[in-house]
């Protein structure tokens, strides 16, 4: 089993744990998106890379994902907002 596959399995277990503890689909989907995206973009590192290297790389990609979400959320948020019938900013 490669080190990347170990990561996939750990992530799957964590997702299951999140779903079991919150029993909410939306929270699980949010977790899946936020923490799965960096995993999706992970590539196999050189053969000498240790588990710690993989973990560091994952944390780095996770931080980048958060920053990209921070950058793009205000742009996307106005789309559902434009269907708003209320006088002030509320999601209907």
């Amino acid at each position: 089993m490669t080190k990347l596959q170990t990561g996939y399995i750990i992530f799957a277990v964590l997702t299951a744990l999140v779903f079991l503890s919150t029993s909410s689909v939306s929270v699980t989907l949010g977790f899946l998106f936020l923490f799965g995206t960096p995993l999706f973009f992970m590539k196999a590192l050189p053969a000498y890379a240790t588990h710690l290297n993989y973990f560091n790389k994952y944390i780095f990609l996770l931080i980048c994902t958060f920053i990209f979400v921070f950058l793009i959320t205000p742009i996307l948020i106005i789309m559902p907002l434009s269907f708003n019938a209320e006088p002030y900013f509320t999601f209907t």
Partner: protein, 425 residues
């Protein structure tokens, strides 16, 4: 054929005997004029749209011609007053006559109202004294004028008021700069600190500097990993991710700021999520907007692309083999980053921080919309004085001080980092 030995070897001349250097200048003169003419539209544009308004602002911040244009004769007479007790009868007579004339002529910018507003800056509450006295003074036709004035209002029996009037008649005044630095004239005419209630500008300047520094630092922290990722990814992926950076850049400033209101308000998305997860109760929603937090979050989002783009373009030029070479020579990852990669990114960091900091220090729209009361910057106070209180001179003085601060920071930056290190890639 002419003998070449007749000319000295130092001055080369052309066939018709003119020195070569002079001939060369002559022949390139037309080209130089043409080049100058081509830059003329830009020079005129910069002069008209930039240099001239800044000059106007600097002039406006010290200009003090209201009183001397409303009271021309009094202005000359008051110069001889020794500032003890009331001015002599002759001076007060000129004051009354000037007031009467200003009331009759009603020239724009030269009315008693303008004068009253000007004195009211220094002595709050004196505005009504001037306007009501002006009305009653119209009936005064003969002396003694001092008694007539005191009969109208006891408040004229006040040397502080006359001293303030005397100061107001000089052509230039440091008063607005003093006001912008929380200073004022006391009753004896000395410069002292303003009342504690009115000390708002200096603390606001410091708050602006502090917030701008915080925003710049957060921007740098967020931009560094993203730029590194973008510069190391294959071109196809990085182009795709670059859109995520550029999309906020292309969206209107107002749209983004309004979106942040929708996200951060107490009934907004983040609070809804926090309540949904159960981190906070429904009655304990976090106030994240209309304070400094809101200003920082929204401004970091808006200014982040200005940090990412120069950092990215500099990191793009750093060959990845440098880091590998450092590793092969025994450097740990962190050491290789600190000793090799980080110094190479310094030009980008320099450019990004300078850009973000100078943009942040004069930012207006975002703090005005999401800043509430606490998160207002100095630019909002300037806008207040230009648009609401109509004390343009104070607004100009604050603006000039801001300009000076930026220039000093630029000079410091040049001393510490060196402006030649600046690189946008």
């Amino acid at each position: 054929m002419q003998d070449s030995s007749t000319t000295t070897p130092e001055t080369l001349v052309t066939a018709d005997g003119v020195p070569l250097k002079q001939k060369l200048i002559q022949s390139t003169r037309r080209a130089r004029w043409r080049a100058l003419l081509l830059t003329l539209p830009l020079v005129i544009f910069v002069l008209v749209s930039f240099i001239f308004p800044i000059g106007q602002m600097l002039l406006r911040s010290v200009n003090n011609d209201t009183a001397s244009s409303v009271l021309p004769n009094f202005t000359i007479a008051i110069k001889d007053w020794d500032e003890q007790g009331l001015p002599p009868e002759q001076t007060i007579k000129l004051f009354v006559l000037d007031m009467q004339e200003a009331r009759e002529k009603r020239e724009i910018g030269k009315t008693v109202g303008n004068l009253a507003t000007r004195i009211n800056y220094e002595i709050p509450g004196s505005r009504s004294l001037f306007t009501s006295s002006s009305r009653k003074l119209a009936r005064v036709t003969e002396g003694p004028y001092t008694e007539a004035l005191l009969e109208i209002s006891e408040k004229w029996d006040n040397p502080v008021l006359w001293r303030s009037l005397k100061r107001a008649t000089s052509d230039f005044t440091p008063y607005f700069y003093m006001a912008a630095l929380d200073l004022k004239y006391d009753d004896e005419g000395n410069i002292t600190e303003a009342d504690e209630l009115y000390q708002i500008y200096v603390s606001n300047f410091f708050k602006t500097l502090r917030l701008s520094a915080t925003i710049t630092f957060i921007c740098l922290l967020l931009a560094f990993p993203v730029s590194y990722l973008l510069s190391t990814l294959p071109l196809k992926t990085s182009n795709l991710l670059m859109i995520l950076v550029l999309l906020p850049f292309w969206t209107s400033l107002l749209v983004r700021t309004t979106a942040w209101i929708a996200i951060l308000q107490t009934e907004g998305i983040i609070n809804d999520i926090l309540v949904f997860i159960g981190l906070v109760g429904d009655d304990g929603r976090v106030q994240m907007i209309y304070n400094q937090t809101g200003t920082i979050i929204a401004m970091v989002h808006i200014l982040l692309p200005f940090m990412i783009l120069p950092l990215f373009s500099v990191m793009k030029t750093i060959p990845p083999s440098y880091m590998r070479a450092a590793s092969s020579m025994g450097a740990k990852t962190f050491t290789a980053f600190r000793r090799v990669y980080f110094p190479l990114t310094l030009p980008g960091i320099a450019a990004g921080t300078l850009l973000v900091f100078i943009l942040a220090i004069g930012y207006y729209i975002t703090p005005a919309l999401v800043g509430g009361e606490d998160g207002l910057l100095i630019s909002n106070l300037i806008a207040y004085h230009i648009q609401k209180s109509l004390n343009w001179s104070l607004g100009a003085a604050l603006g000039s001080l801001l300009l000076v601060i930026v220039l000093v920071l630029y000079w410091l930056y040049n001393k510490i980092v060196g402006i030649e290190k600046l690189s946008f890639g």
